[in-house]
Symmetry: C2
Subunit: 334 residues, 2 copies
DNA sequence: GTGAAAGCGCTAACAG
DNA sequence: CTGTTAGCGCTTTCAC
C-alpha cells in the first residue's frame, strides 16, 4: 500500500515538487494563489498526508516530547499525561510515553529509546534517586533537555518542578494529630526516593512540634506497592504495638495496608485513620466525606511543559526549579 | 549539538559506511569478526545511537503502534496501555499514545497524526459509535490495520476484542436483584456508544427474568462523566420515585451519582446499592468488602496485541472478533 | 513565482 | 568480506 507523496502531486499537475512543498507548507508569499489552490485541491483529493518521518529527518528535530513515568497504577501520572499532552499539542508537539515500572533498568532502556527517536525534550519522574544519574547527564550533554517533575533528582543540569513534600506531609501528620491521633505508624518509602526522605522528616518534625516522642518502632519500611504495604503492615500488627493512625509514603502501599487492616477487622477510619500523598494530591482518610486536599495536577503539568519548552527554545538559559505550594483546595471523596 | 552518525564512525576507521551499517545491524555473516569488534568498540566510545527516523524512512515502516483511547480518568485504559506496551516491546514495537477525551473531533485529529507518523498499526477504543467510521475505513484501506478493543464499532474491516457487555451487565443486575433490590435505577449511556446499548438491554432482560416490570422512568440518561452522572441523579431524585439500587453505564457517571447521593445523605450501599462496569472490570458496590468481579485487563491487552500483530504480518488474513468471558475472579476492594 | 539540485542518516542491491 | 550507488520523502538554498 503506497502513500501519496508530494512527487505524485507534482506529477499530477505537471509542476515541480518544490512548489508543491512550499504550497503545502502554507508559504503563500512564494507561490501563486491560483497554483496554491490547485495544489491543495489535488492534495486532499488524493488523500495526501505529509510524511513526518521525512520532515523530521530533514529538519533535524522531531517536535516530539517524551514523557517517562515510573508507574501507572495511581491516577496522578495519568492525569499529568493528559494535561501535558493537551498543552504540548497546542504548541505543536507530539508526545510519546514510556513506563518504567519502578525499574531503573527499564528506565535506562526507555531513555535510550527516546534518544533513538530523537525526541526534542523529555519530561520525567524518576524511579530511583541515583541509579541513572549518569544517563540523565549524558542526555542533557547531548542537547536533549530534561525537565523533572514530582520525583526529581539533584545534581543534574535540568529544570524541575516539585511539590513541597515536606510541607504537605507536615500538614497531613498535623491533621491526624489534631484529630486526636497519637500513635501514628509511618509506612516509609525507600531511601533511594528523595520524596520519601522528606516525608519521613516531616513526620518526625510534626510529632516533635506537638511535643511527642518519635518512637522508631512506629517507622516501618513500607515499600512501593500494595503487596509490600500489606506485608509491612502485617509485620507491624504482629508486633502488638497500639496504633490509631497511619501515614503512608505511596498511595499504593497505603491502600495495601488498608486492605489488610480491613481483613483483620479494623474499622477505618474510626479505629485507624489513614493518610497519604499521591503525586500532587494529599489524601487523608481521616474524614470519610472530605478526603483530599488537592493541589491540582494541572499546575504541575503546566509548569513542567513551560519549563521544558523554554529549555528547548533557549538551550543555554539557566535551569529553573519551581516548588509548587499554596493553591490547595478541598475535594470531595469519590 | 550533533548526533554521531555511521559516517562519523566510518571516517574514524577509514572504512565505508555500508560496512558500519552491516556491523551495527549485527550481520555477523557478512562482516569480518575483527572489523566488527572495532566498529562496535568505536561506536559506543563515540556514543552512537542509531537514528530511527532515517531507518524508518528507508524501511517504509516504523515498528510503531499507535494506541488511541477516549479517556484516562479511569484506571482501565492506563492498565491496558501498560500491558500492551510491555507486550509490544517484546515484539520490537514502540508505542505512541493519544487521548481523545471523548471528543470525536479530537479522535479524528489523533488518527491523522498517527497516519502522519506512519504507525504500522493501531489499537483503539472509540469515543463514538459512528462519528468517525469513515475515518477508520480510510485508514484500513490505506493499509494501516486497526484492532478495536473494549469499545468497538461494527461494519468496519477490523479485528476486535471485546468483553461481553450483555452477559456481564446481566450478571450485575441479577446480583442486585438477588440481594433483594427491586427498584433499580439505570444510568444509561449515550446511544452512540454500542456498549451502552448492550448494557441497557441486559438491564431490561434481567428484570424480566425475575418477572419484574420494566418501568421506563427508572431509565435515565446518565452521560459519560461525573458531572453528568450527578446531574442525572439529581433529576431522578427530584422526581420522587422510590429506589434502592443503581446500575450505571460508566464508572465516572456512577461515581458522580454516588457523590451526589452521599451529599443528600443517602447511606451507601445499605440504602442504595451501586454497581457499574469499567472496561473489563465489573464493579459492584453492593457489598463493601467484595466489590469487584474482575476480568483481567491483561487478557484483553494480550489478545488485542496478538490480533493486531497478526494483521500487520498478514494483511490479507481474515479479521477476527474475540469476546472475552469466563476467567472471572473476585478482587478485594481498595 | 518556479525549478533544479543537494542532502538529512540509513539500508539494500549490485559489483568486485 | 567490503565498497559504490541509489534512493526513502521532504525542505531549502540558489538560480532563473
Amino acid at each position: 500500500m503506497k502513500y501519496v507523496t508530494i512527487i505524485d502531486i507534482a506529477k499530477e499537475l505537471g509542476i515541480s515538487k518544490s512548489t508543491v512543498s512550499r504550497a503545502l507548507a502554507g508559504d503563500s508569499h512564494n507561490v501563486n494563489a491560483e497554483t496554491m489552490r490547485r495544489i491543495v485541491e489535488v492534495a486532499d483529493r488524493m488523500g495526501y498526508q505529509r510524511n513526518e518521518l521525512a520532515v523530521n529527518l530533514r529538519r533535524q528535530h522531531t517536535q516530539t516530547i517524551g514523557i517517562l513515568i515510573p508507574e501507572v497504577v495511581t491516577t496522578f501520572f495519568m492525569n499529568f499525561i493528559e494535561h501535558a499532552q493537551r498543552l504540548l499539542r497546542k504548541d505543536g508537539y507530539r508526545v510519546i510515553v514510556a513506563i518504567s515500572n519502578e525499574d531503573p533498568e527499564q528506565e535506562r532502556e526507555n531513555l535510550r529509546m527516546m534518544e533513538q527517536c530523537r525526541v526534542d525534550g523529555i519530561l520525567m519522574s524518576v524511579c530511583h534517586h541515583e541509579a541513572n544519574i549518569d544517563c540523565y547527564q549524558r542526555m542533557i550533554r547531548k542537547g536533549i533537555p530534561i525537565t523533572f517533575f514530582d520525583r526529581a533528582v539533584e545534581g543534574v543540569e535540568a529544570s524541575r518542578v516539585v511539590v513541597d513534600d515536606y510541607i504537605m506531609s507536615f500538614l497531613l501528620v498535623e491533621a491526624l494529630i489534631r484529630k486526636g491521633r497519637r500513635r501514628i505508624v509511618h509506612l516509609a518509602g525507600p531511601k533511594h526516593v528523595r520524596n520519601a526522605v522528606a516525608r519521613l522528616q516531616a513526620y518526625r518534625d510534626a510529632l516533635r512540634k506537638f511535643g511527642m516522642e518519635v518512637d522508631e518502632r512506629y517507622i516501618v519500611a513500607g515499600g512501593l506497592n500494595a503487596e509490600e504495604g500489606a506485608a509491612a503492615m502485617r509485620r507491624f500488627v504482629e508486633g502488638g504495638l497500639p496504633f490509631d493512625a497511619l501515614f503512608g509514603f505511596t498511595e499504593m502501599a497505603t491502600l495495601g495496608a488498608k486492605s489488610l487492616l480491613q481483613q483483620l477487622g479494623y474499622r477505618i477510619p474510626d479505629e485507624v485513620a489513614l493518610c497519604c500523598m499521591s503525586g500532587t494530591t494529599l489524601c487523608t482518610l481521616v474524614h470519610p466525606e472530605l478526603t483530599a486536599v488537592e493541589q491540582p495536577v494541572y499546575a504541575m503539568a503546566e509548569t513542567a511543559c513551560r519549563l521544558l519548552i523554554h529549555q528547548i527554545e533557549h538551550p543555554d538559559a539557566p535551569k529553573e526549579e519551581v516548588v509548587l505550594r499554596g493553591d490547595l483546595r478541598f475535594r470531595a471523596s469519590t
